[in-house]
Amino acid sequence: MTTPVAHSATNPRRPSGRARTFWTRLKTGDEVAFLITLACAASVLLVTGLLVFELYQNSALPRHKFGWSFLTTDVWDPVAEEFGALPFIYGTLVTSALALVIGIPLGVGAAIFLAELAPARISAGLTFLIELLAAVPSVIYGLLGIFILVPALRSAEPTLRAVLGWMPIFQGPFYGVSLLSAGVVLSVMILPFIISISREVILAVPNDQREAALALGATRWETTWDIVLPYAKNGITGSIFLALARALGETMAVTMVIGNDPKIVGSLFAPGYTIAAVIANEFTEATGDMYSGALIELGLVLFGLTIIINAVARILVSGGRLKGAP
C-alpha cells in the first residue's frame, strides 16, 4: 500500500519513513511531538518517584528512632513522643476485613445475577446505577454514616447482641461509633468495584462452557457455581484485591464513624482508629518534627500496603484475562 516507490513517486522530495533523518523529522514536528509527549508520560514516573522520596525523607526522624518496632508497638503518645503504629494497622486491617466479609458475598452475588440471569438491558441499567455508587464522594458516605448508620446500629444493638453476642468480637460496650460501623460503610463503598469488575469477568466466560454444563443436566446454579465461577476465579479475586486496596486507603467516611480511639480491644463494638484516619485528624495539629514525621511514616506504611495489594490485583485481573482466552 505505502511502498517507498509509490511514496516517493507522489512526493519525491520527502524521503520514505525509515530513511528520514532526525533533522527532517524534527522539521516536520514529529520529533518535537514525540519529545513533548514523552516528557509528559515521564512526569508520572517523576511524580511517583518524588512521592516515595518525600515520604521516605520526611519520616527519617521516627524511622531512625524506632526502627521496625514502630510497626509492632501499640503506644501512641504524642506528648512523650512515643509512637507505635500497631493500633492503626490493627484498625485498618480489621475494618477492611469486615468490609470484605460483608462485601464479597453481596458483590459476587449481585455480579452473578447481573451477568448470568438478568436480561441484557436490565443488567446494563442496574450496573450503571451500581457504578454510580463509586462516584459518590467519600465524605458523603461519612455524612450518611454519622447521621443514619450509627444511630441505626445503636438501635439495632440488642438484636445484634442476641444473634451474634456469643462471639467475643461482638461483646463489650457499644456506643455506635465503632469498628463495626466503619466496616459496614466500607463494605458499601467497595461494592461497586467488586460488582462491576466481577460482572465483566463473568460475562467474558465463553458460552460453550455454560452450554456444555447445561447439556450434561446441571442446573443453572450448578453451572454458575461449578463451571463459570472457577473459570472467572482469577478476575474475581483481582476485583476483591482492588476493593481491598480502596478500603485500606479510605479516609473520610471511616474517620467520621470509627470513633478515633487508638486502642486494641478485640471487639468490633469498640471504637478504633485507622492509619488514614489518624493522619487526617492529627496532621494539622502535629507539633514537632517527630510527631509529624511519625504521621508521615504512617503514610509510608499505608502507601506500601496499597501498592502491594494493587500490584497483586493487577496481576490477577490481567492474568485472568490472558488465561481466560483460549
Binding site: G29, L50, V139, L191, W221, F283
Partner: protein
Amino acid sequence: MTAAAPLRSANTTRRKVVNVVMLTLTGLCTLVAAGTLVFILGYLFIHGGSSLTLDFFTKLPTPVGEAGGGMANAILGSAKLLLIAMLVGVPLGFMGGVYLSEFGGSAFSFFVRYTTDLLNGVPSIVIGIFAYTVIVLPQKHFSTLAGGLALGVMMIPIAIRSSEEFLRAVPISLREGSMALGASKARSILTVVIPAAKHGILTGIMLNLARVAGETAPLLFTSFGNRYWSPGWDQPTAALPVMIFNYAISPYEDWHRQAWSAGFVLLALVLTVNIVARIIISKRTSPR
C-alpha cells in the same frame, strides 16, 4: 435404572431447590446494592434539598454558634482548586496519553502504564501528604495552590489512561489515510486523531474533575479551610467537601443542616456530570 430412580428424583428436587434459592439470593444481593444507591440519593435529595436556601450560595459562614449563613466562599474555593487541578493534571495526563497511544509500544511505555496504575491506587490522603511536603512545608503555610496540586496529581493517572483509551479507539485507517496524503505523524495526530477522539477525551476530563471535586482527605492539610473569602492563591481556602466534614462532626444542629445542604449540592453536581458523561460515551461507542 429403576432402583436408582427414587433416589435420583429426591436428589433432583434438592438440586432444584438449591438452584431456586441461590438464584433468588443473587437477585437479593443486586437489590441491596442498587437499593443502597436509591436510598442515598433519596435521603440526600429529600433531607439536603429541603434545607437548601439561597443564602447557602451567596453568604459567608456565620460565627460559631450563630444560625444562618452559607458557604459561598467554599463554593468559590472548590472552583479555584479544581481550576489549578485541571491546569496540572489535564495537560500532563492528556499528552502522556498521546505518547502511550501514538508513540508507545516499548518497554518504557509498559513501565509508564504500570506506574500510572500504581499512582492511581495511592490513597488520596497520601497524595495530600505529598503536596504538604512539596509546597506547604517550604512555604510554612497552607495554600490553595497546595490543595490544587494534590487534586491535580490525583487527576494525572486517570487522564492518561482515559486519553490513551479514547485515542486508541480511533481507527488505524484514519491515521494511514492522513499519512498517505503526505501529513507528518505529528500533523496527523494533531489534525486527525485528536479531533476524532475529542468527545471521548473531554468526557473523560469531566468525569475526572467530578471525581476529584468530592475529594476531602488531600485538602485537609493543604488548602486547610477558611471562614472567609480566601485572600489569594497562596492562602488557605475553604472547599465544599472539607466544609461538609467539619460541619458534620461539629456539635451544632444548624451546621448539620448546612452539611446536608452542601452534601446535596456536591452529590447533585457529581452525579449529573457522571450521568451526562456516560450517556455521551455510550452514544459514541454503541454504533461501533
